[in-house]
């Protein structure tokens, strides 16, 4: 199995990327401005809801319940989707999902252009796919999951052109850039930078600098695509088991276009997106828009079930994607990460994200949720620096609409990383591991602990300056480089305790038995 999460496998660690990004004043200004605006709007819209905490509690309970019965609900969703005329495919990892999508696109494109499509790949052993018309194209509505599996790259390699139609995703695609936010992927770009990209990519000679001008250009540019391209690709915010329906939450109307206008629609859904009942939308459709964009309700929600005669795509495929999700099912702390509804509130709230922006995380899932989701999807193989990219202040947990305890999960994952490291020889012999083992030994043996304290008191003289320790050697240098450490006092608490008890003469001169 080859789980892939964007480009996490090739990216340097967080401190390296963050260091670079902190030099980029323009990006930092853009990120600070954008996160401030959304934070304030969110706060306003949450404040007017007296039952906000009740909604969070219910959402957490629904998600927890669904994950504990996930096979049941996935099968129910599949059954109902098929009954309504949809086709359901399952993909264990990124490559499998991309292969399915490419095959479906090639078959649909061949059919739509009048070329005879081969339903049976085995017809032509040399080329597993049917003949492809010269310009196979697809229109896409924002799906983070497709970025996760690197779908655009996979499609392009097979000669299929993917058109991103969400304004921000189009900006990212034109700039050969990476999304830096889950909800507003191009928030690191200001309008002047966007204007440059549009001028280069839309074949325009003139274009104003106001946001209205840029949005107008996008409307005009994409309208033709919506009407002409015969294949659409979407993600899903919710997949409803009870009815087999899919729900896409959006603002611009590009989502409605992509799920309505094409003849063929392919919807990529992470297996954790299933919810039990239609009525559960009453919880999530209140929490998601207020958390994501600070709106009482986002302009559009599209809900559809399989194929409807005479309305929208007459061919509908769902790809249910695992890509590392099932790995997270065996532990409550890890499973809870799958509650996420991708609102991005934790990013806007995070003091670390607000300084570095999303690119420092080296993953399309950035910020606090990215710091727990990316390494877990990767089986703790990549993105291992991310659980440390947090001050554990807890702001993310407070705003999370589905109550994911992100700080606890960060600590849990740090523990996992240390455990993994200790299983390697290099890890066993590392300063940190040796130091911790020694500390563990000393804490268990009071006499030796006291002896070590006396030794440290003598040794610290070399590094002591005005009662502070500066420039400690070895691994401890990382600490004293930025902070002073108070020197050990002349007398330890244990020594003082013993002495004061003896002086009072109550005879309870306790000492540990070694």
């Amino acid at each position: 199995m080859t789980v892939r999460v964007g480009h996490t496998a090739e990216k340097p660690a967080f401190p390296i990327l963050a260091h670079e990004l902190l030099q980029d004043d323009q990006t930092r200004r853009n990120v600070r401005h954008a996160t401030n605006v959304i934070r304030n709007k969110r706060a306003l819209r949450v404040e007017e809801m007296p039952d906000w905490q009740d909604l969070r509690t219910t959402a957490h309970a629904i998600k927890t319940h669904t994950l504990l019965h996930l096979p049941h609900y996935l099968e129910e969703f599949e059954r109902n989707c098929i009954r309504a005329g949809g086709q359901v495919h399952w993909a264990r990892d990124a490559d499998e999902a991309n292969t399915i999508a490419i095959q479906l696109i090639q078959q649909a494109a061949a059919r739509q252009s009048g070329v005879k499509g081969h339903a049976q790949p085995s017809d032509r052993p040399s080329s597993p796919y049917p003949s492809v018309p010269a310009h196979a194209e697809v229109i896409k509505v924002k799906t983070m999951t497709s970025d996760e599996i690197g779908m655009n790259h996979a499609l392009e390699q097979r000669g299929i052109t993917p058109w991103e139609t969400d304004l921000a995703d189009m900006i990212v695609q034109m700039g050969k850039d990476e999304p830096s936010h889950i909800v507003v992927p191009a928030l690191h770009k200001n309008r002047h930078q966007v204007r440059e990209l549009f001028l280069q990519n839309m074949g325009l000679t003139e274009l104003g600098t106001e946001a209205e001008d840029l949005t107008g250009a996008a409307r005009h540019y994409l309208r033709k695509k919506f009407l002409e391209v015969g294949i659409g690709i979407s993600g899903a915010n919710f997949a409803i088991a009870e009815t087999g329906s899919v729900c896409v939450v959006e603002s611009e109307g590009n989502g409605r276009m992509c799920v309505t206008m094409p003849k063929t629609l392919i919807t990529l859904i992470g297996i954790e997106k299933v919810i039990p009942k239609f009525d559960d939308l009453e919880v999530f459709l209140q929490l998601l828009p207020r958390s994501a964009t600070g709106e009482r309700m986002n302009p559009y929600n599209s809900i559809w079930t399989g194929v409807t005669h005479g309305d929208g795509p007459q061919e509908f495929h769902v790809i249910l994607l695992d890509n590392g999700r099932t790995r997270m099912m065996a532990n409550v702390r890890e499973r809870e990460t799958l509650n996420c509804i991708r609102c991005g509130a934790c990013l806007n709230q995070c003091p670390v994200y607000r300084e570095t922006g999303g690119h420092a995380y080296g993953s399309i899932y950035s910020g606090p949720i990215g710091a727990i989701l990316s390494p877990q999807l990767n089986g703790m193989k990549y993105s291992r620096s991310l659980p440390y990219a947090s001050s554990l202040c807890g702001a993310c947990y407070e705003v999370c609409p589905v109550k994911i305890n992100i700080p606890e999960t960060l600590i849990h994952l740090r523990g996992k990383i240390v455990e993994q490291d200790q299983n390697t020889l290099a890890g066993k012999l590392s300063q940190e591991s040796m130091g911790m083992k020694m500390a563990a030994h000393l804490f268990e043996h009071p006499k030796q602990y006291e002896a070590a304290q006396r030794l440290a008191r003598t040794g610290q003289g070399l590094f002591e300056k005005d009662g502070k320790l500066v420039n400690l050697p070895g691994m401890a240098a990382g600490w004293t480089q930025y902070r002073d450490l108070r020197a050990l006092p002349k007398q330890s608490f244990r020594e003082w305790w013993k002495r004061s008890r003896t002086n009072r003469g109550d005879g309870s001169n306790w000492s540990g038995n070694d």
């Binding site: 909604l55 969400d166 507003v184 928030l187 087999g244």
Partner: protein
């Protein structure tokens, strides 16, 4: 390939859940019983009386810059004609099931959507439909697509949506609204204000790809 994948994914989930010692105590009953125990203490029913609910709804619509027209059933055709004249439009798209009495008799060319091909469907810049229910709290109107409220493309391609709704279709909460949706497997669209984006410098811009104008005719 995909059958293998289906088996692997479902089997892995079952094995992983079984490996968690905490889970055994959590799933000792059926999904239905466990689902019924989910706490729901949030607001599901109305707190406001109907007059207050309507006022809240109108406020929300005005907040979205929608136009509000108050009339009765006999006045619909006139209200539509007025809205068309104001918008300087003469071609009106209507779904197959919209009553004849709603349509203006003069100055407006009506195009009924009997499975129109793309080009004639895309031409009209105004569309007239009823809706199923409206939510006051969030200023949302909900369409259940079909002959009555049109297929999805009909309310998506035109720039101006004129929507007819009865006062008793307005409810306070989303929970009440979902109960009014009877054909849950028809395509459903919820609409709250005009199409919008804040993707560029978080400046909210009205009208990207969906309709930019909404006129609500309230009966």
């Amino acid at each position: 390939m995909t059958d293998d994948a289906r088996f692997t994914v479902l089997d892995t989930i079952r094995r992983q859940l079984a490996a968690d010692p905490d889970v055994e105590t959590l799933i000792d009953d059926s999904p239905e019983e466990a689902y019924a125990r989910i706490p729901r203490t949030y607001q599901r029913t109305a707190k406001l009386n109907h007059e207050e609910t309507l006022e809240l709804f109108y406020d929300r619509l005005r907040d979205y810059d929608s136009e509000l027209v108050f009339t009765n059933e006999a006045g619909i055709a006139n209200a539509v004609a007025d809205a068309m004249r104001e918008a300087n439009e003469t071609l009106l798209l209507v779904p197959a099931g919209v009553p004849q009495e709603w349509l203006p008799q003069h100055d407006v060319e009506v195009r009924r959507d009997f499975d129109l091909p793309l080009q004639p469907l895309e031409e009209p810049r105004v569309v007239l439909t009823p809706c199923t229910v409206a939510i006051a709290m969030s200023g949302t109107i909900i369409l259940e697509h079909g002959d009555g409220q049109g297929r999805r493309a009909a309310t998506l391609l035109p720039d101006h949506h004129i929507c007819v709704l009865w006062r008793d279709q307005v409810v306070e909460t989303i929970a009440e609204a979902l109960q009014r949706i009877t054909h849950r497997t028809s395509p459903i669209t919820t609409i709250a204000g005009p199409s919008a984006t804040s993707d560029i410098e978080m400046t909210r811009i009205r009208g990207v790809h969906g309709p930019r104008r909404l006129t609500a005719i309230i009966l």
